[in-house]
Symmetry: none
Subunit: 182 residues, 2 copies
DNA sequence: CACTGTACTACACAAATGTATAGTGAGAAT
DNA sequence: ATTCTCACTATACATTTGTGTAGTACAGTG
């Protein structure tokens, strides 16, 4: 929670909120922070000031997600992976899960065999997003594509064919980050 | 910044702030968040939701490494990045540094513009490794290649030319991990 | 069927908060 | 000596925001 001008004034024993406001204004002019004018507690530290590396988020690694939403199948968890919260900026509080990429069907998007993908179960998947999907009972990582009002899974590798669902297509998460050991 | 009840109501298209307030109250009762009563934007996620991690390694982010070994130029540090120690398995005690990839000269190796690369200053660079190098005074990320007993930097993108050193080629680190926000 | 709880709407109001105007005193600059 | 800027105080006021009361629509229950 960012402080209010009264909280700042109180902390520094200023007897006027204007003193605090002036300081914040000066810091904004110098580029150390950003103000959301009008909004309460609308002070945000600039990325350069934000002390990264402090807070990390631990994401469960899931081997296979046979059905349902990932968090229902947490028993398939095979470990955890921790990353800086700034990497997952904005989605740190979402239900996240990690999985290891198998195969090279997504090399067109720079996702290779053996990479780790962190997916967000709470994000709304959009067309062209890389998604973790359950298609006709099989689990896979593909790009979500739309053709004639029907969603299908696009393979980002000319060597393979796209996956068009016969029965059902369930999006279990949207890829948000990628980690690779080189 | 935590949202206000009006922002929550607006987001979910509630026409009353009370609906939002009721939901927040319910979530508090269930233990998912804590309220600082009276304070504006006084909603905080519970620690159990935040899930801070176990063993992580914090790596300094270096903007530019003009010369010398990276750790000598730590003043160019622009932040830190933390990752699970298992990702950097075996090299956690090495001198590591992170940098943001500029340009698309390494797309052939699945390294894209904007990616984060974690490099190891202590690893012995081998042929074909992706390295952070200082070539004729310029800093770059390329593949280390050998031709007729002379090292040069190979670009993994057919649109660009390889970099052959005129004067000097200093390897500052070997790429060991890659992090991408999708 | 009436009853109950859920999930809201509509409205109100006090408190919290951002922001502005005017003024003061110390010290530096001219 | 006068002016000017800096760093604040004092005060005011319009918004923003948290919170409460009352009421509606509706699904489910006995």
């Amino acid at each position: 929670m960012a402080p209010t001008y009264r909280e700042i004034a109180n902390h520094f024993r200023f007897k006027s909120t204007k003193a605090a406001a002036d300081h914040v204004l000066a810091l904004e002019k110098k580029g150390y922070l950003r103000r959301h004018t009008g909004r309460s507690r609308g002070i945000e530290l600039t990325a350069s000031v934000k002390r990264t590396g402090q807070e990390t988020i631990t994401v469960p690694i899931i081997g296979d997600i046979p059905a349902g939403t990932p968090e229902q199948k947490i028993e398939f968890q095979s470990g955890t992976i921790s990353v800086d919260s700034t990497i997952l900026d904005g989605i740190g509080h979402h239900r996240l899960f990690a999985l290891k990429v198998k195969g090279d069907s997504m090399i067109g998007r720079g996702i290779y065999d053996g990479d780790w993908v962190i997916a967000d179960a709470d994000a709304t998947p959009n067309e062209n997003d890389v998604v973790v999907a359950l298609i006709d009972g099989e689990n896979t990582l593909k790009a979500l594509a739309l053709k004639e009002n029907n969603f299908y899974l696009r393979v980002e590798n000319p060597d393979y064919n796209d996956w068009v669902p016969v029965n059902e297509l369930i999006i279990q998460g949207t890829a948000k980050a990628l980690i690779r050991r080189i």
